[in-house]
């Protein structure tokens, strides 16, 4: 069995999603110092492939813009994040997110 791995950016995205619920890409970038516009969707796509996040289209967007893609953490994503967070606490911050 392959152990789930979490990079620093993935951990940051999961932290935002577990704290705020559903968010869209630009919202995550503006809420975080670590995430960049150019790479956030690449990270989100990889995370979706791993099953850490899932997305859906906004249901009723305003008429002046297209619907946004909203992301939320899956159960697996939350579990992996909690496990890494717990390990980090146990080892006094000695467990670094894999980059």
């Amino acid at each position: 069995m392959e152990i789930p791995r979490l990079s620093g950016k993935e951990a940051e995205i999961l932290r935002l999603l577990t704290t705020n619920g559903e968010m869209y890409g630009l919202e995550m970038v503006t809420a975080s110092q670590e995430l960049k516009r150019g790479t956030v969707y690449v990270t989100l796509m990889r995370m979706a492939e791993k099953g850490f996040v899932e997305s859906r289209e906004e249901e009723s967007p305003p008429p002046n813009r297209p619907p946004r893609k909203l992301f939320r953490a899956t159960g697996q994503g939350v579990r992996v994040y909690r496990a890494m967070e717990a390990a980090s606490r146990v080892y006094g911050g000695g467990v670094a997110w894999q980059t």
């Binding site: 516009r37 150019g38 690449v42 990889r46 813009r65």
Partner: protein, 179 residues
């Protein structure tokens, strides 16, 4: 201004454009109406302006000397051809495609569908949103910067995805070989 030559037909065209332009204030319209009446009289008499007549040009400097008109808002007209400063022959295209239009067309062919839909399209939409926000705030420079940064970001994202795919392929191949 001395080298700017305008035909009476072009002057008439300016009047009609100004009359249709909702942004021109009442004072300018009034001034231009006076100028129009004066020009008609000058054209009728023929001897008030040098070279006046159908198909002939006269110096714009003469106009400003003879008639102290307030600045005609030539710059406000859509000017496509810089050699035609009056800009009445070819109105500029005012409707432009949104930023990232060309980028989307190119990347749709370059990248696989999942990458295009999950990475490129949302990144371009974010760029457009920020671009429009900047324009609404009247910050044209910031809007241009967002456009440039957005295009660079999308190219970087595409490169990262392609690189990731190659590395993943290599990793799988290595595992298959080593068992």
């Amino acid at each position: 201004m001395a080298d700017l030559k305008i035909t009476p037909e072009e002057i008439n065209e300016i009047f009609s454009l100004v009359a249709r332009d909702p942004d021109v204030d009442a004072e300018t319209k009034k001034t231009l109406e006076k100028l129009g009446a004066w020009l008609k009289a000058a054209i009728r008499n023929g001897d008030h302006l040098p070279g006046i007549g159908p198909g002939k040009h006269f110096e714009a400097g003469v106009l400003t000397r003879e008639f102290p008109v307030r600045a005609i808002p030539v710059k406000e007209f859509p000017v496509e051809n810089r050699a035609d400063p009056v800009g009445v022959t070819k109105p500029a295209r005012r409707v432009r495609p949104p930023p990232g239009h060309v980028l989307l067309t190119i990347t749709e062919f370059l990248f696989r569908r999942a990458t295009f839909e999950q990475v490129i399209v949302p990144a371009v939409e974010d760029m457009r949103l920020e671009h429009c926000d900047a324009l609404v705030q009247g910050r044209a420079r910031k809007a241009r910067w967002i456009h440039v940064r957005g295009v660079a970001g999308v190219i970087l994202a595409g490169f990262l995805v392609a690189l990731g795919d190659v590395l993943e392929g290599l990793r799988k191949a290595y595992r298959a070989v080593t068992g």
